[in-house]
Symmetry: C2
């Protein structure tokens, strides 16, 4: 508990019960999770928490670099995950919408090449791979 308090202090934000709940949840989750899901899971721990608080917390976390925001698939709802400072990507199943991690990033060398050939200064990239997970594949 002490270390989380400290983490918040480092980022210059107050250690509230609600922020601790959201942080704990993100630490448990291994995958990006939607705001709705975050809200429901946190609400199970603290009935009184409000959706707008969750939005504000996630937006603060994203600004501070504690969390990462992304938009997966065509769904237009925001997903968040803890910023583990490890560069990774996801495999997303088009059938069951399961998300799997890929730890290796195939783009490191490519970005350097791109930088040379286009004079564009590459800062980051977003890569998601879509397909069918082993279980769904066998159902087809």
């Amino acid at each position: 508990m002490r270390d989380k308090q400290h983490l918040f202090k480092e980022f210059g934000i107050r250690a509230t019960k609600q922020r601790l709940l959201v942080l704990d949840l993100l630490m448990e989750e291994q995958m990006p999770i939607s705001v709705e899901q975050i809200f429901l899971k946190v609400k199970a721990q603290d009935e009184s928490i409000n959706l707008s608080t969750v939005y504000r917390i996630l937006s603060t976390f994203t600004e501070k670099g504690i969390a990462l925001k992304s938009l997966l698939g065509e769904s237009s709802v925001a997903y968040y995950e803890l910023n583990r400072m490890v560069h990774k990507h996801h495999l997303i199943c088009l059938s069951c919408h399961k998300i799997m991690n890929i730890n290796h990033c195939p783009l490191e060398n490519y970005e350097k090449e791109l930088q040379r050939t286009t004079a564009f200064e590459v800062v980051s990239h977003k890569l998601e791979i879509y397909g069918y997970c082993p279980e769904c594949k066998s159902k087809h």
Copy 2:
């Protein structure tokens, strides 16, 4: 004009004035464009067109594979572009939000490898690269 009529017929949808306007616009545009921008540009040609019609047309085009939908950056508004059947990606400038095309895709071999190592059947991927374009880079 004849060929566009024919295109719509092939897809089993009617060749309406509104669809022709949206298709023409997407053919002119070299980059993904937001629904709002599409609506305004089309409205300049036909004052009476309605935003919901544009949404419906874009959604039909996407279902039929005539257009591609994507969400760029963190912005949560949908962008559309003509499906030119050429696999490509975009460079997006974090400063001026300009979008540039990359024609080469660095992931073809990687996808095959991934398929072997994860048993996930890869269908497609989404890759966008963020950074600073040459003009903005020199301003910093």
